[in-house]
């Protein structure tokens, strides 16, 4: 009974935030809605007995990746999204894709409901940190090391991509953007 209430509450919040993210043209409102989606999903992970993944979801997605996105939106001072005027056929493509994916979703829902139930024992938590840590450092050591190297590559790549030879200060960039705003 309580799990049903929690599931519908957080699922409703997640879907509402996702629709809000797609609807808003202002990228900052979209980013705030996406943070709402991430936090609702984190609560759903807790109801799925995955406490470590829930905490890591808030820490990494809501707390680091979206902060980066919000920073970029603020620094670049992005305007609202414009409607698709040159590529109007994309409305039909998007609508068609949405209908097809929704149909697939309902089919999966129906099929899994009707399928015979082979659920494992639901009383133990497999997602606790000890299990995950043991698996990560014994069976999956190579993927973890590869992920480490990949993150190093991403750091070096990001630094090189935005490097300029005469690097202006943060204050100068902000001032230029404010001038652009006030003269427009």
């Amino acid at each position: 009974m309580a799990s049903t209430v929690f599931f519908f509450l957080f699922a409703g919040l997640a879907i509402a935030s996702a629709i809000s993210m797609v609807y808003h043209r202002n990228p900052l409102y979209g980013a705030i809605s996406l943070v709402g989606v991430f936090i609702s999903l984190s609560c759903i992970y807790i109801t799925l007995a995955a406490p470590f993944i829930a905490a890591v979801q808030v820490l990494i997605y809501a707390g680091a990746i979206m902060v980066l996105v919000v920073f970029v939106i603020m620094l670049l001072n992005l305007d609202d999204d414009k409607p698709l005027d040159r590529l109007r056929y994309l409305y039909a493509v998007g609508g068609g894709l949405g209908v097809i994916l929704l149909a697939q979703t309902f089919f999966i829902f129906y099929a899994v409901m009707k399928a015979p139930n082979h659920a494992a024992d639901q009383s133990e938590t497999v997602g606790n940190t000890l299990n995950l840590g043991s698996a990560m450092y014994t069976r999956y050591l190579l993927p973890v090391e590869i992920v480490g190297v990949m993150l190093l590559m991403a750091i070096i790549g990001a630094v090189i991509l935005v490097r300029r030879l005469n690097q202006p200060q943060l204050e100068l960039v902000v001032e230029q953007e404010h001038e652009r705003r006030h003269e427009a």
């Binding site: 980013a31 890591v56 997605y61 980066l68 698709l84 899994v112 993927p143």
Partner: protein
Amino acid sequence: MEPSLASYLGLSGILFTIGAVGVIFKRNAIGMFMCIELMLNAVNLTFVAFSRYYGDVNGQLFVFMVMSVAAAEAAVGLGIIIAFFRNSKSVDVDDASLMRN
């Protein structure tokens, strides 16, 4: 109705659909990036639901890998967007057609 595996998969499918439609409808590069993150999260939800259903920890481990890859992709993707913005002063992907024709 107790939330069974089907409910979680249905929720994941709906979020994936919203993300996919958002990627097509958005002109802003950052908006498209955020819709892609939404799709990745829908897939993470599927993995965690299956991991709970089968009592297998590998699903959650893969979620961890997906999150790391998403973080790396965010860093590099936003770097590309900033570099692109410096040249053309706009992040509109429909206007980014310099190599066309």
